[in-house]
């Protein structure tokens, strides 16, 4: 609504642009565009270019064609597990953590006792960085000195929560979800507060049950929040890095694409071309989600 008048004033002003106005506009638009090009697009294109080369960071850059990608797909045992783990991460956060956050938000919104207390307790992990969460996870899940094994009291053959490659990803996901749930909860809580109570009343008068009201009335009105939650879930699962890096440098069952990029590019390894190829794969995956999201949004705008 505010958009239309704004645009009109803009048009009227266009006739009276002075040289100074143009200069100011040029600078104000130019700086962000330049920054965007220099900070976002430049490195992105450079990564894409580098992914077709072999470079150790010191010597000459050699053009190797698609060899990096061939190696990546056929000759890098960590790659497919990493890709699987990223998808698992997405599924777990999206299908378990996010709905659980919604559930908590609904419960708190209905006014359980001590709701402020629950609210702040559940939100607490969100202020912790994932590296710290990873550190806490180690304190809890460490095989010999962890809290969990001490509580279970299994000293004979204690479960190696973080060292067993079939198990550790789930433990780390649990820790990541612990944080994500609080985040999602607070978003939904804000959304729920804004749902017009008269909608619920109207539904109740029309004879809708609790569940029906929630799924047919409340959830659809929460659409913008749903979109945000979807977006942050995707972002969180693609950029997941710190927690596994804190636990065991993302090895032995905790491989993630982001870790592989770091392992190859940063550090003494300096397989910059190969690492860039992994980064490009990550870029393509994220682009897939971004494009889907944008298409949805643009369609939504049109329908509105």
């Amino acid at each position: 609504m505010s958009l239309i008048p704004a645009r009109r004033t803009g048009r009227r002003a266009a006739r009276r642009f002075t040289g100074r106005d143009l200069a100011v506009l040029g600078v104000l638009l130019g700086i962000p565009v330049l920054l965007d090009a220099a900070i976002v697009w430049g490195p992105t294109l450079a990564s894409v270019m580098l992914s077709f080369t072999g470079w150790d960071g010191v010597g000459d850059i050699k053009w190797v064609g698609t060899q990096n990608y061939e190696n990546l797909f056929t000759n890098y045992p960590q790659f497919w597990p990493a890709a699987r783990h990223n998808l698992l991460w997405l599924a777990f956060l999206g299908l378990v953590a996010a709905p659980f956050g919604l559930l908590l938000a609904v419960l708190i919104d209905r006014g359980v006792r001590f709701s402020r207390f629950y609210q702040s307790t559940l939100y607490m992990p969100v202020v912790l960085s994932l590296a710290v969460v990873g550190f806490i996870a180690q304190l809890v899940f460490s095989r010999d000195q962890g809290a969990l094994n001490a509580v279970i009291g299994d000293t004979g053959s204690p479960t190696d929560w973080l060292g067993d490659p079939d198990l550790n990803i789930w433990m780390v996901l649990l820790a990541a979800a612990w944080r994500h749930t609080g985040y999602v909860m607070i978003l939904y809580l804000a959304g729920l507060k804004a749902v017009d109570p008269s909608l619920k009343e109207a539904a109740a008068i029309d004879g809708a049950g609790e569940a029906q009201t929630f799924f047919r009335i409340v959830l659809p009105t929460l659409r913008p929040v749903n979109v945000i939650v979807g977006v942050i879930t995707v972002i969180e699962s693609l950029r997941a890095f710190d927690i596994v890096y804190a636990v065991n440098h993302g090895r032995n069952g905790l491989e993630l694409l982001s870790v592989l990029v770091t392992d190859n590019i940063i550090g003494e390894a300096s397989r910059i071309g190969f690492g860039s190829a992994i980064a490009v794969v990550m870029l393509l995956v994220s682009l897939g989600f971004v494009v889907t999201y944008l298409v949805q949004e643009i369609r939504g705008e049109k329908n509105r």
């Binding site: 505010s2 958009l3 104000l28 700086i31 962000p32 920054l35 220099a38 900070i39 072999g54 150790d56 960071g57 010191v58 010597g59 190696n71 000759n75 890098y76 045992p77 960590q78 460490s142 095989r143 010999d144 000195q145 053959s157 204690p158 190696d160 929560w161 973080l162 060292g163 067993d164 490659p165 550790n168 804000a190 959304g191 507060k193 804004a194 749902v195 009105t221 929460l222 913008p224 929040v225 979109v227 945000i228 065991n248 440098h249 090895r251 032995n252 069952g253 392992d263 190859n264 940063i266 550090g267 003494e268 390894a269 300096s270 397989r271």
Partner: protein, 448 residues
């Protein structure tokens, strides 16, 4: 925030909000640009004050308090005996220093920096990032030929001034061995028999850890050198022998024989935790470097630490090879100050001083977890453990560095770390493992 804010993304509510957001955006952009240029600035800091001829900048990776203080003592002693020369130390966190080494050496490195011997040094020498100090070496005294070999690049010139090293061996508690009547084993069979006995005595025979990715490499190196000899190990590390070779499989097969006696869940255990279990007498033995158990033992139990050399596997190779990583000092070719002849002279003078036995004594006085490389160092002040370590290395026919120092850094970090961890969690698929390693090795070594 409320729901409506999300819906109208990009359409700001009020003019004030509009202006604010743009301003903060610009500010954010400026901060972002700062973040991009920051690393460059940080490396620029390494340059220090322009070469006045007598100030030597030194990049240090000794961020832990004990070695940091020991180095400070040593440099202070140098400054005191030189006429007006100063050492300006830039200490960087140990792992960060290691990870940034390529960029550091290409950017604006300090004049002198700390690094490791062996392939890990030769790699950078080959790239032309190190300063030739062969003339210094002609004056050095008290270094064994093995030390010289480890300080020499592929082109036959010397690049490193060794300072100290620490041998790897099988560590244990003397009191535990005395109480239970255990004897240090000489051969693999005795080693296994001892481990079996310990298991009967409700101990974890061998403390074992590989969460950090490198500790288990020590065991691999020893198994390989005892089974196939140092020369084979060397060419395996150089990528000349195939990992699918029968002899490599044999190493993994022997290791599999030992695994039942090793602490389970090694991939989830740090070396500190493993050393702790040794200290608490939950585990009987552990393959470690000299500084590792010491770091986890309380002061009054330090004397209880003892070790025996890794047992013999193939009699023809005996216990010839000892794994003893060497740390030392190098000159960075790209350092601007070194272009100044006087600074170069000062830096070389510092290295010459550091190469003396006396300089090593000063360091080891504060950090007794290593041993001096020079045979002119005063070993009378050594602890019994240090003396035993000196005996071990001086009796060695060959000195290896460590898997991650003897081979290419990209191979050890992206291939060998995951491979050994995979072996630990799934020791039965040696065929698949060595094939995986060999295939990746080919592409990495072909990259040149």
């Amino acid at each position: 925030m409320t729901q409506s804010d999300y819906g109208r993304s990009g359409v700001p509510g009020s003019v004030a909000g509009h202006r604010m957001s743009r301003r903060s955006l610009l500010r954010g952009a400026a901060v972002g640009a700062g973040a991009v240029t920051l690393p460059a600035l940080l490396t620029a800091c390494g340059g220090g004050p322009g070469g006045d001829g007598s100030t030597i900048t030194l990049g240090s990776n000794s961020s832990d308090p004990v070695p940091k203080k020991a180095f400070a003592d040593a440099f202070a002693a140098y400054e005191a005996q030189s006429d007006g020369r100063k050492v300006k130390v830039n200490t960087v966190d140990h792992n960060t220093f290691q990870e940034n080494i390529s960029r550091y050496l290409q950017g604006k490195p300090d004049d002198v920096f700390m690094w490791f011997a062996g392939n890990r040094m030769q790699f950078f020498a080959e790239k032309g990032l190190l300063h030739d100090i062969s003339d210094n070496w002609q004056e050095y005294k008290g270094f064994s030929p093995a030390l010289k070999a480890q300080s020499t690049g592929a082109d036959g010139k010397q690049y490193l001034t060794p300072y100290y090293y620490y041998p790897w061996a099988v560590f244990h508690r003397r009191s535990l061995f005395a109480d239970r009547g255990y004897q240090a084993p000489k051969t693999l069979d005795e080693y296994v028999a001892l481990a079996r006995q310990m298991k009967k005595d409700k101990l974890d025979p061998i403390a074992f850890c590989d969460k950090d990715g490198w500790p288990a490499m020590g065991t691999f190196d020893y198994l390989d050198m005892r089974t196939n000899g140092y020369a084979f190990h060397k060419s395996l590390m150089a990528g000349e022998v195939a990992w699918t070779d029968k002899r490599v499989r044999e190493v993994f097969d022997t290791w599999r024989r030992l695994l039942p006696y090793c602490q389970q869940g090694a991939n989830g255990r740090t070396w500190q935790e493993a050393a702790n279990s040794l200290q608490k007498k939950e585990a009987g033995m552990a393959v470690f470097g000299l500084p590792h158990p010491g770091a986890q033992f309380p002061k009054d139990e330090q004397d209880d630490i003892d070790f025996f050399p890794f047992p013999v596997i193939a009699p023809e190779h005996g216990q010839d090879a000892v794994e003893a990583p060497i740390d030392g000092f190098l000159l960075a070719k790209k350092s601007k100050n070194l272009k100044n002849k006087k600074t170069l002279e000062s830096a070389k003078d510092l290295l010459k001083w550091l190469a003396t036995g006396k300089a090593e004594d000063i360091y080891l006085k504060s950090d007794p977890n290593n041993i001096a490389v020079s045979d002119q160092a005063d070993i009378s002040a050594y602890s019994p453990l240090q003396k035993k370590a000196v005996e071990l290395v001086s009796g060695a026919k060959q000195i290896s560095q460590f898997l991650d120092r003897d081979t290419r850094p990209d191979f050890s970090s992206t291939v060998m770390i995951p491979a050994i961890q995979k072996f630990i969690s799934d020791p039965n698929d040696v065929d698949g493992l060595v094939n995986d390693i060999e295939r990746q090795k080919k592409t990495i070594f072909a990259a040149g």
